[in-house]
Amino acid sequence: MKTNLTTMSHVGQALQLALKANKIGPSLEEQTIHLGDLTVANEQIDFSNKAKQKSTAEHAVGDKKSHFQKKEKKKRSAELITANIEIARQNEEKEKRAAELAIANKKLVKENKAKKKRAAQLIIANKELLFQNSEKAKRARELEVANKELESFSYSVSHDLRAPLRAINGFTQVLLEDYQEQFDEEVKNLLDEIVANSKKMGELIDNLLEFSRVGKQHVSKTEINMQALVDSVICDLRQQFPKLKTRFTGKIVGNIKADKHMLKQVFINLISNALKYSGKKEKAEIEVGSYDEKGNRVYYVKDNGVGFDMRYYDKLFGVFQRLHSNVEFEGTGVGLALIHKIITKHEGKVWAEAKVNEGACFYISLPIL
């Protein structure tokens, strides 16, 4: 195209040169006419050239436009493909998720069923518990009634049994005092037996009452100076038995939180026992000491007395159980049972070791709080 245009302008130039050269040829008028025609033709050519140029430019623009559109379309279709792929992927994802949800749903249904079953079981268990609770409350009321009955029973025993016993003991002693000249030795011995046995029965009743009283009593704990408590028990016993020759040894380290009144009773019983069962020895010796073990404080009372046979150990702490006859050693069989009850109430332990004729050692262990 550019070549054509250049050619065209060359033709025009050539024509103009030719016309210039022709000046000398034809007449001036003729020359003028020719020149006018040529100018018109030239203008026409020029116009046609311009139009062609314009059209060419327009074509170029159109070309550019369609090129751009094509590019756009390509880009768009690429995008669509990408989008399609994405949708397909998402669909796949959704299907996968749906499958997962279906599984989860099934699982939930199953779980729900299990829950319903469990709920039903719980309802039954609840009903059972309610029933048991009402049974327990009923049982507690029954026990309360039984307890009250026992209380009034022990009150009765304490009040009503002791009075006739006092009469038997008292009047027998009145007989012995006022009419002793009229009785021979045999009668006096028989009357002495009545006095001794009624006295013994009184002690039994008293001990039994003490035992039941401790059971009812509330443990009120205070810090106890144990050495002082043991010393006061030994002091009281020395006053009670002024002829006592027993040697006391041992040392107590560490105090304890316990019910003072109850713990004093424990040591009165333990040390009295030690005195009683070592009383027939030439050199009676009692050791009262303590040591700590696994968060517990252990107190022990050890004597060198007659001891006991470990074969009968399981009877040792039972109520009214005795490992010695009343002829050998007097007793009611309540002392150790009482100790056991008191120490159990304190969440402690009590045990013993012994060898016949070599002595016994009683231990009580209480938690260090």
């Binding site: 009469a167 008292g170 002693q173 009624s198 009184g202 008293d206």
Partner: protein, 147 residues
Amino acid sequence: MPNRDVQILLVEDNKADAMLTIRALKKHNLANNLIHLVDGAQALDFIFAKGDHIKRNIENKPKVIFLDLKMPKVSGLEVLQILKKDERTKFIPVVMMTSSKEEKDIVESHHLGVNSYVVKPVDFEKFSKVVTDSGYYWLEINNAPLQ
């Protein structure tokens, strides 16, 4: 000091206990002016000069009352309550004498203002000592207001 015709008022429903108590006191010459009544109702009539005892002078107060706790009609605790609430009788020393070492009886008696609480031992030797010690203390050692 007014000449009292009653020194000890013994209120005891148990015949044996009463006999043994009186015997023990007599042995120590403490039962010269002793009156024995067998229940709380009689005791109240005597003290306030009513009923069978209407002719008695109410001002003639016993030096001490030995009161059994468990008695028919009016119990020892009820007698104690009435005596300690009445201006005319509240200063008369009352010794509760009972077989029962029940804590609730001990506490209740002291709430009502008992002057002494004595448990009667089964063994007669101990019983005699407890009774005569009490008699001796309240008659010979203690000083109560005259009014």
